[in-house]
Amino acid sequence: MPDWKKLVRERLSVLNLPPSAKNEVIAELAAHLEEIHEKVRQACVTDAAAVELTLQEIDNWSVLARNIRRAKSEGESMNYRTKSLLWPFAAVTWLGASLSVMVLQRTDRLYPNLILFYLPWLATLPLACAAAAYLAQRADPTNDRIKRLWLSVTVTWLGAMLSLMVVDRADHPSLVLRRPIPVTFSLPWLATLILVGAAGAYLAQRADAPRKTRLVVATSPALLLGIVMLLLLPWRVTVDGYPWAFTFFALDVENCVVVPGLALLLGASPFLRQRSANSSLLPEDDANASMGPTALLG
């Protein structure tokens, strides 16, 4: 007779509950599996085959662990969203804005009127995204959003930053928009952003992220940059003064958010067509939690 408690404990190691509650869950599930095993054993030749068949009762132990944890925790739905999405997102923007201010205060404007002026920001924000992934991981190791959202966003950011650093070191064809303040776009950079957007959306799709998450991941460099710029606006007003701060802000939004965002979106578009089974930012087991007639009959 296998040690079912041991087998369940190994598989539910990620179950984040107080020890007494966790032990009780493990004992209960082990007892259930023990009964199934006894029934299966009568029909199986070997005990190993019976154990294997019994363990097939649970498709995904991580999902089970998450569902149990949420079922047993008070107000877990709100906490889960807060811990895995809102709190990391707040960390990204706060850390990104703080680091950007620190870096910008020590950096001359080396590239006036060029998009490369934002290189320090691009260098610091991946760090903030990695922090978000860490926070989401700490909140719940089984969290779907780690791969679907935060790690994909971090990779997208790193890709955008690295491409900019590479492009910055070479002569390259540029697109110059002549307006009251001329703006130069590096064409190779915009081209690599298409690839970066595609990579981000692909990674999110591979993690079975829903379409809107893929969209957020792919355009995250532009979106986060826009949010950070908005947060830094008061600081810029004190530095550049009114109304220049707002004029520069509008130009920056266009140059650093809209145009790169369009390039990222273009790259992501092939990976946005396919509809995911999971249509919300919430993890897939939220849908499974609603066990209606279909689930019962299924």
Binding site: E24, V25, A27, E28, L29, A31, H32, L33, E35, I36, E57, I58, D59, N60, V63, L64, N67, I68, R70, A71, K72, E74, N288, A289, S290, M291, G292, P293, T294, A295, L296, L297
Partner: protein, 113 residues
């Protein structure tokens, strides 16, 4: 006047099955799944993965309560029984499902009888 069916009624289907079963007797998880399968000739089934999160949630809401007891084979099992609150939920839930099937019957000729 027909009682309006709340949107969460689909979620209540699984709860109804458990509440109705526990109204007659205390059962542990394996027995709950087994009896639901047997009584419906396998039409309704609960896996371990779908049963326990729901049982724990119902326990958290106070509809059922679990207690470790020895079963007939002398093994410790966690038996669930209806609480007074759970018993109160059962009648309105049954009523909602009757209304649900009646509505389906009117629309699609699906009779529950």
């Amino acid at each position: 006047m027909t009682k309006r069916i709340r949107p969460q009624i689909t979620r209540g289907s699984a709860e109804l099955a458990i509440l109705a079963l526990l109204a007659d007797q205390s059962l542990y998880g394996f027995e709950i799944a087994k009896q639901i399968g047997e009584r419906t000739n396998g039409a309704l089934t609960f896996t371990l993965a779908s049963l326990y999160p729901l049982l724990y949630e119902m326990e958290k809401r106070g509809s059922v309560e679990g207690r470790w007891q020895r079963n007939h084979a002398g093994r410790d099992r966690r038996y669930y029984r209806l609480t007074p609150a759970g018993r109160k939920q059962l009648a309105p839930l049954r009523q909602e499902w009757r209304a649900f099937f009646h509505a389906l019957d009117v629309l699609a000729g699906v009779s529950h009888a």
